[in-house]
Homo-oligomer: 298 residues x 2
């Protein structure tokens, strides 16, 4: 697979490359092939959103068993096409191999007009912490599927954020081009883990107000079944929301809603390199990174 | 995994992204981890050589079972480092995941000063066909390993082209920058298959002189064991030589040797879209693409 990128003198190219593996990132017995194709692309594209970049091109490496080359592959490619249209990028190369399982690697190439794109390492003590949308919705969908509740008609709508997440491309570009965000990351591994990643890269800590965290709302009947919204929100992965920091002087320029996406101020960056949750009564407790970690037993 | 590429106004970026999968592209029980790390990078870098580009950066996605995280991983990373030094590229991003097997994806980003890099689609009827080095050496090494002959001390030297292939970066750049090659491809899938790929992309055919093809020399004792040099040369994969076409008027500028690498004129491009082998007595027979094909039963 090889392709040439047109020269764009006023722009910087950014590149993101991600695995999407059967049994690790998706389950062929539980996830529709359309959603697998869509998410393979959404996952890599979300990294670009967090840099304020615009996706332009992508390369798709696909390995699969021969028995998936018919109907399954058609569905998968429909999902890829849907994501391509939605994100405005174009397939410029790809390869296909025979393998024992479905393994996908997506490389997305994007452009930004910023000489120095937003990174996760620019947060400074005193900066305010924001998150877009709500956290926990994707994990709720995954757990409904894993518990065999996915076919209940009344929960169908709750699966959408898990199956078809929408990278926050417009928001990322807007924050970046107006130089409002000092640092930014997408919540792919889970809020707690991604906040840790951002703080580690910036060599800072954070205080998060528990009650301000915009957490997925779940029906009372699911709470009775043991679903815990707060745990889903803190540690659930794959929301692909933007978690970003804003210097205090720029805070007044952050609206409550940007093109229909809620923006919530949830805390602030501290010099002390620890991450704590502050409850409404002022009590603090450490927030451990309990989201997705490939080498921890789950 | 995400990284920004520095702007280089006078250059075009090219990108190559390749899987390197256990059981498909390598065997963990037969290949040393150092060679696996080296080849993962060599394979993707060779694509750039065929475009006349210079590798600058690469991204490495690695999935592996936990039991490979110690000594095996150290060896693998030594191989990656060796390739990095040899090819002059630099790791700018990567990801690691837990998986049931070793799966690798390497994305290499390179630069070329050509406004339009050499592709495989530019061959024209009458162009002369050349190949660098010799073909079949890598397949010979693989078959020695598969037949359990790899530990024989006398055959050790024959494994090197299989374990540590050298992408023809200098040659590719030279042919490209002097605009000598009308089309170019690296022989990764095997001479016969790559020639078919080049001819299909260029909508042409080719006549190849059998006796001119520079084929690996094999010891007589291996011939007696059933190794057939001509078959290895025609269809054996992973030599990573350059197969290129040159307009007739530029042929006198192609030396027999470029920086120690032999360049051999082996035939010519035809308007008729068939690929034939011509023997010394003038008889012709079709050359089928019998190299590497992921979806053919082997």
């Amino acid at each position: 697979v090889i392709a040439a990128l047109p020269a764009r003198p006023a722009q910087v190219w950014v590149v993101s490359s991600d695995f999407f593996l059967e049994g690790v990132h998706f389950l062929t017995h539980a996830h529709p092939p359309v959603a697998i194709g869509y998410k393979a692309l959404a996952r890599a594209t979300s990294d670009l959103a967090a840099m304020g970049a615009t996706p332009r091109f992508f390369l798709l490496n696909l390995a699969l068993p021969p028995f998936r080359a018919g109907r399954w592959l058609n569905g998968f490619l429909r999902g890829v096409a849907r994501a391509t249209r939605q994100f405005g990028s174009r397939l410029i190369g790809g390869d296909i191999a025979r393998y024992t399982a479905v393994a996908i690697n997506v490389t997305v190439l994007g452009a930004t007009r910023m000489a120095t794109p937003v990174t996760r390492s620019g947060a400074r003590p005193g900066d305010l912490v924001y998150v877009s949308g709500a956290v926990g919705a994707a994990q709720l969908g995954l757990e409904l599927i894993l518990r065999g509740q996915a076919n209940h008609r009344r929960w169908q709508a709750l699966l959408q954020r898990h199956l078809y997440p929408a990278p926050r491309l417009d928001l990322g570009r807007w924050l970046s081009s107006h130089r409002l965000a000092s640092s930014m990351i997408d919540t792919s591994d889970g809020f707690s883990t991604d906040l840790h990643n951002l703080c580690r890269a910036s060599k800072v800590g954070a205080r998060i107000d528990s009650e301000k965290l915009p957490i997925v709302r779940i029906p009372a009947s699911l709470t009775r079944k043991g679903f815990d919204a707060f745990t889903l929100g803190l540690h659930g992965g794959e929301d692909y929301e933007l978690l970003f920091t804003v210097p205090r002087r720029a805070a007044e320029r952050i609206p409550r809603l940007y093109r229909g996406v809620k923006l919530t101020r949830i805390g602030q960056i501290t010099r002390r390199q620890s991450i704590v949750l502050v409850s409404a009564d002022g009590r603090t407790k450490p927030l451990a990174p309990r989201g997705w970690d490939h080498f921890r037993q789950r």
